[in-house]
């Protein structure tokens, strides 16, 4: 039974929060619509019933307010989980999450830690227009002091969220509205996933392949599709799911590269100064001699997210673009 249990991404997130809340009464959840309404995207369904209004807290529409108060709660020993309906709306709370949370420990000489988890939907949710479709990882990962987690499947979502909640630093946990309904195997037994450990999802560590695909979050799934399709043509890929952006498991990237000699990074943020740029820079710094072709990026296009359905689809990374990039590193295009 347990071995095959499949649940949705949103259920995995809920299980992670609920299990941790049962274990540690310092943990609470606050955000817009998280309690009475069971979450704008039903992630926190039933949690008010179980934990009551003291720990599952509906907030007014004041992102800066509940982010800031969450930070104070974390400084004084609680373990807040702060839900943004969308990471797009975290922008009105920018000073709290970027200028306070990640600097508190540093600026207090190590006295005031900030063990807080901010979580919510990241990336284009499907025709929400450019102000409501933010991928924040590119922007936020520039800031030292934050940890950034971005799971691609329900199993990782649960294990990583549990780790995030137990972590002593501020963690930005990035979900995707487009994946909340995805189902996947999630065991009932307790498990956590450590930060900074990428997972090889296609290929094997001791088998050479034609190209390494590095990704994180939703586009990992596009990479898997691309790899499966390429395999039909006899092209083999390593697909490396980074799972966390900070810390960034460059050891695994280099290790895979040694088996392939080619690198394509797939990142749903904009290309300029993106996580993809960072992966490629570090690859060049650490393993330039292993590269048989210049590394390539597949990012969203360098424009605000288009509102129209067809344009939004053309703007985002997809299987076709990934296949094109892999073939290009192989000199096939």
């Amino acid at each position: 039974m347990t071995a095959t249990r499949e649940i949705q991404f949103r259920e995995a997130l809920r299980e992670a929060m609920s299990e941790e809340m049962r274990r540690d009464e310092r943990i609470f959840l606050i955000g817009e619509e998280v309690a009475q309404y069971n979450g704008a995207y039903k992630v926190s369904q039933g949690m008010l019933d179980e934990f009551g209004p003291k720990r599952i807290i509906d907030s007014p529409i004041s992102e800066n307010g509940f982010a800031g108060m969450g930070i104070a709660a974390a400084m004084y020993g609680l373990r807040p989980i702060v839900e943004f309906m969308s990471w797009s709306f975290s922008l009105v709370a920018a000073d709290q999450i970027l200028n306070n949370a990640p600097k508190m420990l540093y600026m207090s000489g190590g006295q005031w830690g900030c063990p807080i988890v901010f979580r919510g939907n990241d990336g284009a949710g499907g025709q929400l227009g450019s102000t409501h479709s933010w991928c924040v990882e590119g922007l936020y990962s520039n800031v030292p002091g934050v940890k950034i987690v971005i799971p691609s499947n329900p199993y990782d979502a649960k294990g990583l969220l549990k780790t995030a909640i137990r972590d002593d630093d501020p963690v930005f946990f990035l979900e995707s509205e487009r994946m909340l309904g995805d189902k996947g195997h999630v065991p009932e037994e307790e498990y956590t996933i450590p930060f900074g450990q990428a997972e090889l999802r296609r290929g094997s560590w001791d088998q050479p392949a034609d190209c390494t695909l590095v990704s994180f979050g939703r586009p990992v799934n596009f990479c898997l599709d691309a790899a499966d399709e390429l395999l039909k043509e006899g092209i083999t890929c390593h697909v490396l799911d980074m799972r966390t952006i900070r810390p960034l498991d460059m050891e695994s990237v280099v290790r895979s590269l040694k088996q392939t000699g080619r690198l394509v990074v797939v990142d749903q943020c904009w290309p300029f100064a993106s996580v993809a740029s960072e992966v490629i820079t570090q690859t060049c710094e650490r393993a330039f001699d292993y590269l048989d072709h210049q590394p390539l990026r597949v990012n969203s296009d360098d424009v605000p997210t288009p509102y129209a359905k067809a344009l939004e689809a053309a703007y985002l990374p997809n299987k076709g673009k990934i296949i094109g990039a892999v073939k290009k590193t192989m000199g096939l295009l």
């Binding site: 619509e33 009475q36 309404y37 290309p271 053309a314 000199g331």
Partner: protein
């Protein structure tokens, strides 16, 4: 020194046309003429029809997410009519279609926007309306800024900003209010208190008995009106606009209304709202109320109503046809308007459909010279 009271305040509520269509003649004096009421009634009916049709378009996949205005037409109409078209500036959120239309924005723009086309926010020349704002509360600062500019330029113009009850919880609201008050900027803060912010009722959103009282802290004239009463909204709005134009600074209006529809088409309000509450507010429908009033005056009857409804249908059909007839954007349009002048790099990407990240799906692109166009110094 003994303790003494240093400040006292109160908030007035105004209703002129009650639920049964009965008018307080004294208060109604010098507000709206019969012709104006008739015209506004017709416009409200068309707006309601547009809302119904937009809802159906979304359900049949011809429109993205859409926020219905249903039940709030008197608020938009009264405020929109009090502001001067072509002079004053409207800074909306997303639930005041009629006000925008009264100020010259054709309805097909509104539909185009919600169909997922940025050109719906490409406001025609001479129409003083800002784009629809999605990040809650952020637009109010723009209104204060616009109004401050009017004051600096000594132009007798007014900025009007629309927002919901929920938006008053954002920091931007308070900064906009304080700034406007300190600068004595000619801005009208028009809050459509529709009792709900998605699933959050007003009592949970705030602990103030009225939204209007929030303005007291900023030293601003403030009033609460029956937002489903065209006369009361108009009277309060007109006073606020005139005061601002005359150099009297900002004002606040809380229009007490109700969102008769769902938050947006992505929502189902039945999951969190008491059907009896909805029922009660259905009875306070601003359009129904005007119809009763007009019928009572003898200037309206069933035959006229039937004709109006027919006309509204035809008008809205035309609007939909116009919106849907606009040529769909093409993929290379995504680069346009990223900057005032497209930088050379984006221009190159647009003309080759090759972004620096390899660009378009080669299948879509027909595999045009993928090898050379992407990187000038390509190693392949």
């Amino acid at each position: 020194m003994p303790i003494k009271t240093v400040y006292k305040a109160q908030v007035e509520y105004m209703q002129i046309l009650d639920e049964n269509g009965k008018l307080d003649e004294k208060l109604a004096k010098d507000t709206l003429t019969d012709e104006e009421v008739l015209s506004l009634y017709e416009q409200m009916t068309v707006c309601r029809q547009l809302d119904e049709v937009a809802f159906r378009l979304q359900r049949s996949g011809r429109m993205g997410t859409y926020p219905q205005n249903k039940g709030q037409e008197a608020a938009a109409a009264g405020m929109g009519f009090a502001a001067k078209k072509g002079v004053d500036w409207l800074v909306p959120c997303y639930r005041e279609n009629l006000a925008l239309n009264m100020h010259g924005l054709p309805y097909h723009y509104v539909l185009l926007h919600w169909m997922g086309d940025e050109r719906g926010n490409k406001i025609p020349e001479g129409v003083y309306v800002n784009p629809i704002a999605i990040p809650i509360g952020t637009q109010m600062l723009h209104a204060t800024g616009i109004a401050w500019a009017f004051k600096l330029r000594k132009e007798p113009r007014v900025a009007v900003t629309f927002f919901g009850d929920g938006a008053t919880s954002e920091g931007d609201f308070h900064e906009a209010m304080n700034f406007a008050s300190v600068m004595q900027a000619p801005v009208v803060f028009f809050c459509q208190n529709n009792q709900w912010a998605i699933s959050v009722p007003r009592e949970i959103q705030m602990n103030s008995e009225t939204v209007a009282q929030k303005a007291i802290a900023y030293g601003m004239p403030t009033i609460q009106v029956d937002g489903n009463d065209l006369f009361a909204v108009y009277k309060a709005a007109k006073e606020a606009v005139e005061r601002a134009r005359a150099g009297g600074g900002p004002s606040f209006i809380e229009a007490v209304t109700y969102r008769l529809g769902d938050h947006t088409t992505a929502d189902d309000a039945r999951r969190y709202r008491d059907p009896q509450e909805l029922e009660a507010w259905m009875g306070r429908d601003p359009i129904l109320r005007l119809r009763k009033y007009l019928t009572g005056k003898g200037v309206w009857d069933d035959a006229k109503q039937a004709k109006l409804e027919e006309r509204a249908k035809t008008i809205v059909q035309e609007i939909v046809k116009t919106a849907e007839g606009i040529e769909k954007p093409t993929t290379d349009d995504i680069f346009d308007f990223t900057y005032a002048t497209l930088p050379a790099e984006l221009e190159r990407q647009k003309s080759t459909m090759r972004t620096s990240s390899l660009g378009q799906d080669p299948a879509q692109a027909g595999l045009r010279d993928m090898g050379t166009a992407t990187h000038g110094h390509s190693a392949t």
